[in-house]
Amino acid sequence: MFQHFVKLQWKSFFRSAGLGKSLAIKIVMIFFGIYMLVSMAGLGALLFTILKKAFPDIDPVLKVSEYMMYWLLIELVLRYFMQKLPVMNIKPLLTLPIKKSAITHYILSSSVFSVYNFLSLFLFVPFCVVLVLNGYPTLNVLVWLISIAGLVLTTNYINFVINKSDTILIVLGLLIAGLYAIEYFEIFSLLQYVGKLFYTLYQYPLFVFIPIATAMGSYYINYNFLRNRIYLDQSLKKKTKVAETSDLGWTKKFGDIAPFLQLDLKLIWRNKRTKTQVFVSFAMIFYGLFFYTMEEFAAVFPMKVFVGLFITGIFLSNFGQFIPAWDSAYYSMMMSQNIPLRKYLESKAGLISVSVVLMFLLSIPYVYFGWEAVAINLSCALYNLGINIPLILLAGSQNKKRIDLDKSAFANMQGTGAIQFLILLPLFGIPMILFSLLHLLISFEVAVIALSIIGIAGFAFKKPLLDWITEIYRKKKYAMIAGFKEKNSS
């Protein structure tokens, strides 16, 4: 039976849309994956030496044990966001002569091979090898590794039980923060006790049965839970949310682009991927703190220009680069309805402009680091408004890849093509180079003023620029409609 399932899974993987991703993305993704795993393995190999140096009196295994709790909790949070629940397309199997228990066992056991389970192993296997090389008893180390594998599997199954419940995520977050606070303010040294607990697993190999038991127990809980829910009307049914409607009457002030503006706001607020992007954009306001507080960068102006462009333009680049693919699901309707293309684009530009202004206002507290910071951010905001908005709309005319809005935002590369990477170069690169040159050759003030003037000039020519871009969109219309219809083009 399992053999059939494996075959199905195999086909679904190799015939899936994901495999048809463009080459550029594949290479980037593979690079990123390899980079992650190699750094994990490297960290694992060096961990022994690092800990030995930092805490010469403490056994590195004990130190690792102390932090094991954090590791597992953070892994759980990571899994919460990234790991997909292993739901095979089981609907077609329900009416076939297959035992439901077999389906359940298959789903659960196949999740053992999830990448997230190997992440920890890439850290701990090299660490254990180094331990053995340093004369630690092989049996203890080996069994300890098995214990860790058991704990990792436990988090794997606990994650399914949590099943994307936001409340539990918040509890987890509070727990991690709480633990850290307790430790930081030296109220109570919980880590030492927890550390000893995990250390026992190393000292007494017999205790390996505990992690194995938790892994099996969590498997069993999942099994019971899932087995009783393999019905069309239970776990297989999509959850539907109660619709909240809002009038958004205030958008009327924006005149005839109001209906599109309303649509875009609803688009952003009611879909997972776009909503997360807004949160990410707001969080990026703190990005500048990294650079402004680091001494190496404090005097490097090009870096500050990058920060300024990035902070004020994060929504511009995140949201803008997928225009008009956000509307891909219903693009043929938009094109046959009574919609002037020009107004459609104007409304997108309006929305992004608001975000640039808002992000600039939020960035004003950077004045703490000197007036130059605000001057840079202002000139960057102006440049974003005048030049980068038309530029990103122009790049959008090359978009032909569909985006399914209801998919999650994390590690979601759908709709991404080479153009999305390439556009970032002129978006941020050109103003940085320009600024640096003027700053070096003339002065800081001239550089700031020049960047601002270019932005204002772009703003002054907004009308002809938009006319021109509209014409390009019109020419690309058929290719866009055809491209957005291809569900497998992600």
Partner: protein, 231 residues
């Protein structure tokens, strides 16, 4: 009203549509039938300028649809559920279409009251997004949205599919009423020969992209069509 001249659509070497000449006068209720792949949706997509013709052109009220957008204000259409915006509620969708067609909320509400029976209490005030409605209910929303703003050309692709029997009968009534207005041209495609003969005064049969029959509907039409498709 709608003139099709020498239109062909090719994908590679395959010709999916080839219509030498087709004239649809204003106010006609026009039915398009044919098996899968006969070119019905292709024809409608060309009419809406969603795909580019390989040769030829279509004129709608003297407007060449692939060169000007002036046909948009008087044309409304529902091809499939990709015409719906999944994250809106039905009301919001109707109001959005209304704004595009210069109809305020009161106008749209007034129109919607006429379709209370058709909605069967499953559309309005349900606090559900369109993406969460059943296929049949999505279809109802799409069909009614085409009546907003008194369009002169209404294009409905397979409007009867996925609807329950009661709704099908009500829809026939609605289309008949619409067709009775002399200024409205209705274009309907369907696999259901009975329905299409019931509501259309003229029926064109497409087969492998070409017009093989062009009939003014009479009592004999249904039998004639059945004979054609059986052979």
């Amino acid at each position: 009203m709608i003139t099709t001249q020498n239109i062909t659509k090719k994908y590679g070497h395959q010709i999916v549509l080839n219509i030498e000449h087709l004239e649809i006068p204003k106010g006609q209720s026009f039915g398009l039938v044919g098996n899968n792949g006969a070119g019905k949706t292709t024809f409608f997509s060309l009419l809406l300028d969603l795909i580019k013709p390989s040769t030829g052109y279509i004129l709608s009220s003297e407007v060449r649809v692939d060169q000007s957008e002036a046909w948009k204000p008087f044309t409304s259409s529902f091809i499939d559920e990709t015409f719906l915006i999944g994250y809106l509620t039905p009301e919001e969708y109707f109001y959005f279409i209304g704004e595009l067609r210069d109809q305020n909320k009161a106008d749209v509400d007034a129109l919607l009251t006429q379709f209370q029976d058709f909605f069967h209490g499953e559309i309005l005030g349900q606090r559900k997004y369109l993406r969460d409605l059943s296929k049949g209910n999505q279809k109802k929303v799409g069909i009614v949205s085409t009546f907003i703003g008194s369009p002169e050309v209404v294009i409905l692709d397979e409007p009867f599919a996925n609807l329950d029997p009661t709704t099908q009968i009500r829809l026939k009534e609605i289309i008949r009423k619409l067709a009775a207005q002399k200024e409205v041209t209705v274009l309907v495609s369907s696999h259901d020969l009975l329905h299409v003969t019931d509501v259309c005064e003229r029926i064109v049969v497409l087969n492998k992209g070409e017009i093989v029959k062009d009939i003014a509907t009479s009592a004999e039409t249904l039998r004639e069509l059945e004979q054609f498709f059986a052979s």
